[in-house]
């Protein structure tokens, strides 16, 4: 072979290598324990470095070929990693005619392939499929390439064999080519295995990616849950009572739509009467509403559903047809077209007061934890809302009451700064409540008044309160007025700051009335004193003269009987007697006591009547009249003896006085005891009283019903007053010419 031909052959082999993507194709000869190149292709690296393997160049590392030297005629594979990069190498050794060992080798660079595969790996994070395609495509190309190599190598081998070089070029026979092909097949298989590895890795990568996707999805869902909860809960912060209903309804809608439910609702329970009520409802478009039917619905504590709620547990039903509940409950659920539902109890201080839930009507819904978590959080929000609503309502009530109280109410801090004042307290000082918030309460007092008040405030600070103290206030216009004030020192539970709550009563009227009462009492005392004096004058001073006159006339009657022959002396005696009697009556009226002044005791009625008869007859001349005391001798009454005696004496005296002067005149006194009252009857057959004419005036002062000269008309008036003082009453039945019957009724106690 000429050197030109050799160069040409090398160039051909170079082109072949490039086409195949092989790094080198070469042949070496083992000479005197040295490996020398007989031919070699040039790689890119050689071009770059201008470092070509030249004819008979000694190989730097003789050991690199030792595996091939040991196994003649068999392909040996090896992996290398050196300045020419990383790759796989195939070597085939054989003996020539001169028993020299020829080695033919080819290497393929894995570096580029690896880079390619690595890039595919990276791409695989975006799309595993693409990687697969690439790998698949690559493997196809490679296997084709390798087939191509094999056929070319065998062609080359043939061409080389045909040449007649003195120095032998690597020469291939068919068997060697087949061997090489087989080697390449093995290489391909290894590549396949590697590709399988890659595929497995890719699968794992895909799985990781998948999980990452799911995790991301979950995270997204959680963030959505979070945002909806924030949205809902922020809706309820600082919400007014009026806005609560709308916000709850809106929240139901948002939650319902979020979980993809067809209905969302809130129920209240009343376990006492075992009833529940649907308070709020949201329905998706086209879903029927049932809130109006779900009022006053009977539930049983013992129902499985109820049991769960009572224990604070969720009720989740994926398929209504698989539910075991009471027939009525099932019917109720089916009527609403429910297929799946989830309901979460509203727990207030470990008591179930209701529930919140979702229905699915158009499809079945599998239980997912998020639904329950959402409901659980929402139920807590609802409970807080309800409690806040109750507290707010209570507060509002208290505020309304305080605002409109008819007494003053004021709250200040320790320095006296007003934080609350009601209408009454503001108005009484000439202000509106809004003018006073933030002002100091010294606005209500003059300097002098503040001095007095400060003493009370000292008490407040040391003892925690002052009670019913009279505190003087100043109106805006300067007028001063008193208020009765009670104040307490209170703690705010949270901040421990102290404040003063005071109540003030307007006592202007009270003090004025007290003054008036005081004056009236003084007047009363004065009048009373006057009456007492007057009574004394009547009963002693006036009376002594009347008594003296009567006494003198009596003596005159004894000693100077002639005087009484004159009618004028007779008239003087009668006038004196009338005067005496009038003074006595006047005294009786003046001395009349009220019921509370009387001292009652047990009195023997029979004996009292005997005494009354004696007294009654003192002033009248007893004629031919039978006076019959028909009262049982042991009868007792509980009363006041002087009055009762006076009453009966007077009636009996009248009965005797106004008799008819007939033979069988009588006066009968009888009594009848009932459970609570005793009746004493004084009956006569005397001349009687015309009740038709005089009935209304019978017991009035100075009314006379008889023409008798002795009658003065004061008697029955006094009698009636005395009966009333005893807590009783007096009645009269009478007929002119037939007689009268007086009935005195007195209480037994």
């Amino acid at each position: 072979m000429t050197p030109e031909d050799y160069e040409k052959q090398v160039e051909r082999n170079n082109q072949l290598c490039k086409k195949l993507g092989l790094q080198y194709l070469w042949s070496v000869l083992s000479l005197d324990s040295q490996i020398v190149f007989t031919s070699a292709t040039n790689s890119n690296l050689d071009d770059k470095n201008s470092n070509y393997a030249k004819f008979f160049d000694v190989h730097s590392d003789p050991n690199a070929f030792s595996p091939a030297l040991e196994k003649l005629n068999e392909p040996v594979f090896s992996t290398f990693q050196n300045e020419w990069g990383e790759g796989r190498m195939i070597l085939v050794s054989k003996l020539d005619e001169k028993n020299r060992i020829y080695i033919i080798g080819a290497s393929i660079q894995l570096k580029e392939l690896n880079e390619l595969l690595f890039r595919s790996f990276l791409l695989a994070t975006g799309s595993g499929f693409l990687l697969f395609l690439v790998v698949w495509f690559l493997s196809r190309i490679l296997s084709k390439k390798i087939m191509y190599i094999c056929s070319n190598v065998s062609k080359t081998a043939n061409q080389i064999q045909k040449g007649d070089l003195d120095i032998e070029m690597p020469s291939f026979d068919v068997i060697e080519a087949i061997r090489l092909t087989e080697s390449l097949d093995q290489m391909r298989n290894q590549l396949k295995i590697r590709i399988l590895d890659l595929e497995t890795q890719n699968n794992i990568l895909n799985q990781i990616l998948n999980e990452k996707n799911i995790a991301e999805k979950k995270a997204r869902k959680y963030s959505e849950i979070q945002s909806i909860l924030i949205k809902i809960s922020s809706k309820f912060i600082n919400i007014s009572n009026e806005g609560i209903n709308d916000s709850i309804k809106l929240s139901l809608k948002e939650l319902g739509e979020f979980v993809g439910a067809d209905r969302a609702y809130i129920f209240d329970y009343d376990w006492e009467i075992e009833k529940c009520w649907n308070r709020y409802e949201w329905c998706a478009d086209g879903i029927s509403s049932h809130i109006s039917n779900l009022q006053n619905v009977t539930i049983r504590k013992t129902d499985p559903w109820s049991q769960k709620h009572l224990n604070g547990e969720v009720v989740s039903i994926e398929d209504i047809n698989l539910l075991t509940e009471r027939e009525e409950n099932l019917k109720l659920l089916k009527e609403q077209g429910i297929r799946s539902l989830i309901s979460y109890p509203l727990m207030k201080d470990s008591t179930c007061i209701g529930f919140v839930g979702f229905d699915w009507v158009t499809k079945n819904h599998k239980y997912i934890e998020e639904d329950e978590n959402l409901l659980s959080i929402f139920s807590n929000i609802l409970i807080n809302l309800r409690m806040r609503k109750e507290i707010n309502e209570e507060l509002a009530q208290f505020k309304t009451i305080a605002d409109h109280s008819q007494y003053g109410k004021v709250i200040t801090d320790l320095s006296g700064k007003i934080s609350y004042v009601n209408n009454f307290y503001a108005n009484i000082h000439g202000y509106q409540p809004k003018d006073l918030i933030g002002k100091n309460h010294s606005i209500f007092h003059s300097e002098k008044q503040m001095k007095d008040l400060n003493q009370e405030l000292e008490t407040l600070k040391s003892e925690g309160k002052f009670e019913s103290s009279l505190v003087w206030h100043s109106h805006k216009n300067g007028t001063e007025f008193p208020m009765l004030m009670t104040a307490i020192l209170l703690n705010n539970d949270d901040s421990k700051t102290e404040f003063i709550a005071a109540t003030a009563l307007d006592v202007t009227d009270l003090i004025q009335s007290q003054e008036r009462i005081k004056k009236l009492l003084e007047k009363e005392r004065y009048l009373n004193q006057n009456i007492q004096n007057f009574t004394y004058i009547v009963s002693h001073n006036l009376r002594i003269h009347s008594a003296n006159m009567l006494g003198l006339l009596q003596v005159a009657k004894e000693t100077e009987p002639d005087l009484f022959k004159h009618e004028i002396t007779q008239m003087l005696l009668r006038a004196s007697q009338n005067l005496e009697e009038t003074i006595r009556d006047l005294n009786t009226v003046l001395e009349l006591k009220s019921a509370s002044q009387l001292q009652k005791s047990n009195i023997n009625l029979y004996e009292l009547i005997e005494l009354s008869i004696q007294n009654g007859l003192l002033d009248v001349q007893k004629q031919n009249i039978d006076i019959l005391n028909l009262v049982h001798k042991n009868d007792q009454v509980f009363s006041e003896s002087i009055y009762l005696k006076s009453i009966l004496s007077h009636i009996i005296g009248n009965a005797v006085r106004y008799h008819k002067n007939l033979e069988n005149s009588w006066v009968k006194i009888s009594s009848e005891r009932f459970q609570h009252i005793t009746k004493i009857m004084v009956e006569d057959n005397g001349s009687g009283i015309d009740l038709v004419r005089n009935g209304a005036d019978l017991f009035k002062m100075y009314k006379k019903f008889h023409d008798s000269p002795d009658s003065k008309g004061l008697g029955l008036y006094i009698t009636q007053i005395q009966v009333e003082a005893l807590g009783g009453n007096i009645e009269v039945e009478s007929k002119i010419g037939e007689g009268s019957k007086f009935t005195v009724t007195i209480p037994n106690e």
């Binding site: 009963s539 002693h540 003296n548 009567l550 006494g551 003198l552 001395e591």
Partner: protein
């Protein structure tokens, strides 16, 4: 010799009682005191001199200086060997006076002015 004592400030009453007493033929002594204090001082003097008390006293209630009640209070403090019979003789219509008299045991010896002729007769007959 018997003694009837009148403790009375009203001249007419003294006149009337004296007239009545004498009319019944009483011949004993009649002593008069214008008020409770004068009467008490006399009684006290008598006690000290061991002179007998009157046998019968008509005591008015309403008198200046010492009234009848004060006389009774003080007189009852004196130790007495024999008790005079005391009648309250008053023009008073006051229930309070009556009750006071009853409380002191004068239920049957509380007389109203003008003194009833027959009552006086009874008293003197038993005297």
């Amino acid at each position: 010799m018997k003694e009837i004592c009148l403790i009375e400030d009203d001249k007419i009453q003294i006149f009337l009682i004296e007239k009545f007493i004498k009319k019944f033929g009483y011949t004993g002594k009649i002593s008069f005191y214008e008020n409770g204090k004068l009467a008490y001082e006399e009684m006290k003097r008598r006690f000290e001199n061991i002179t007998p008390f009157p046998d019968l006293i008509f005591l008015d209630l309403n008198m200046p200086i010492w009234d009848g009640w004060l006389f009774l209070d003080e007189f009852n403090k004196l130790p007495k060997s024999h008790l005079p019979i005391i009648y309250i003789l008053t023009s008073s219509l006051s229930e309070e006076d009556l009750k006071k008299a009853e409380d002191r045991g004068f239920t049957n010896r509380y007389l109203q002015k003008p003194l009833d002729y027959t009552i006086l007769k009874n008293i003197l007959q038993n005297f």
